[in-house]
Symmetry: C2
Subunit: 329 residues, 2 copies
């Protein structure tokens, strides 16, 4: 733990200890890390007798609903004139969406975040990208606060850790990540319940769609590229929705020799959304930018105002070109 981060978390702990009315802000389109960390912190604050709520503006995704035990609210009047507003897992003010104004009204505002690109927007900012998840930062914060080391608190934190590290598979996983996860099991976490909630609660329609799409996957660039198309007729056929294509590009990346994988989603007849993944040396942010998109080096995306067939040809050509310029070990 960096001394700067430790000091910053100590300071945040003492601010939270002093305050009694606290709003917590996960980012818009919340994921397991944003909501899990927020839920754990909310529970700890309430255990100290404080009034704490997670203020949200979009709905809690189905697979995370088990985390919300009356912590989340859309009602920004529940706490009037909040003493403390704390943003979790938000790399900049935009990630607060329409709640930016309420956040700014907090007498003290705090931000805890682990993203590599971070723009300070609170009175007290703690950002450290050596953490794989914000949940790990909140874990350290809870230790500083002498919060209760219970199974219930562990649940939110463990959710944040595994959803942000691909269950300890992504390259952001560190020895500290595993050590903190280990401590959470010591807190009595019901590990199996969590695994069932997060990984074993897929809709059957989604499994069928993924099967249908992967069956028709194509390799190109001598097996270094892999591409899959999901059309609107496949959705109709399987009963799945477009959001349920998540995970397909990862499945393609799991193929031996595949460096870059592409998922094409037929959003409308002339609108194709594209997810790109790289395995080792490829830079898909670079490819996505060429089509007006963006993202990370290993995970990026773009949108083309073209048919899925036209998009496929354009992407394949761009990726082929990119792969030619790569040096593989």
């Amino acid at each position: 733990l960096k001394m700067e981060t430790k000091n910053s978390l100590k300071k945040i702990a003492s601010i939270l200890n002093e305050g009694d009315n606290i709003f917590i802000f996960p980012h818009i389109m919340m994921d397991g890390d944003a909501l899990g960390s927020s839920a754990a912190l909310c529970r700890v604050l309430r255990s100290f007798g404080k009034r704490a709520w997670i203020l949200i503006e979009d709905s809690v995704p189905d697979y995370l609903k088990f985390l919300d035990e009356d912590f989340c609210t859309y009602d920004d009047t529940l706490i009037r004139d909040p003493e403390i507003c704390i943003a979790i897992d938000c790399s900049d003010l935009e990630r607060l969406g329409k709640r930016g104004g309420i956040f700014a009204n907090g007498r003290t505002s705090i931000s805890i975040d682990h993203h590599a690109t971070f723009e300070a927007f609170a009175h007290v900012n703690c950002n450290d990208s050596s953490f794989a998840s914000s949940a790990e930062m909140v874990y350290e914060l809870i230790l500083e606060m002498n919060g209760p080391a219970t199974a219930e608190v562990a649940e939110g934190l463990y959710t944040g850790i595994i959803t942000d590290t691909g269950n300890f598979q992504y390259s952001n996983t560190t020895a500290m990540t595993l050590r903190r996860a280990s401590a959470l099991l010591d807190w009595g976490l019901d590990h199996q319940r969590l695994i069932v909630e997060i990984y074993q609660s897929m809709r059957p329609e989604r499994v069928k769609l993924n099967g249908r799409a992967l069956w028709e996957m194509e390799l190109f660039s001598e097996g270094k590229g892999a591409i899959v198309s999901v059309t609107r007729s496949m959705l109709a056929e399987t009963g799945a929705v477009m959001e349920e294509t998540e995970g397909i590009s990862e499945a393609l990346r799991n193929i031996k020799g595949v460096e870059i994988s592409v998922l094409l989603k037929e959003w409308e007849p002339k609108l194709t959304r594209v997810s790109l993944r790289a395995k080792t040396v490829g830079n898909v942010a670079h490819i996505a930018r060429a089509f007006g998109g963006g993202g990370h080096v290993k995970a990026a995306g773009c949108t083309l105002e073209k048919s899925i067939e036209e998009s496929k040809e354009l992407l394949k050509a761009a990726i082929e070109e990119h792969i030619k310029g790569l040096t593989f070990q």
Copy 2:
């Protein structure tokens, strides 16, 4: 760590320290835990200047070949009259296959294993089913031996841990499992290389077959049962082999509400192999035994001398009956 296990590992460490010619025996049809643990131990023994080999009788599976850096041999004459023979991850003598005689010829024989059912067969036996993997026992042994804490040794041990715990998803995962995995990252393990070797090196034919099979999966028993058939014609169509169906029953188990999942493999026109998985309260060992098979409570199998269609009807009926008798929370 149980005192009995600790003492037993101490004794094994002192025996290994004294010996110079050592054969290591992973079980037949080796998996990541058997080979990973064996490779790590072989490397440590050699680092002490000892002559050590892993004696195998069937081939190293493709996805584990990276572990064998000239450790494995079929040649039982490489060490004549071995001082020490050590079996790893073998729950009984049968798991040594045809090598049982050579094992018994060791002046001192040792067995290290973590299975719940264990029949002692060596001079010194260390069995402890509180460990999720044999790799974790070998990790503790290596600490007792003051073996080198290097990235290379960590590689085999981490492989054993993640392959036996479903990458920390199975219910055998403990706080100690995560703590040991964390220590292995501290040893300098190339975590990403390992993830690519183990999870991101699938044959494209396998991905297509899995897709094809899952697309046609069926739910039954009000969505508590899920069944998939893999026929010989599907193999021909996709170019995959029957061994590449591994993972399909797990994918079915990941469906919300599915308690028991079944994979039917058309081995021959009148020979069907069956893999069964349970999620929470089901007992698939019970179902498998009714068809002359066996296994664990949550993972079992059987073989029917019936067509795949006949087998399907029989299994569905038996599972429906079993599910009726279960109490869900």
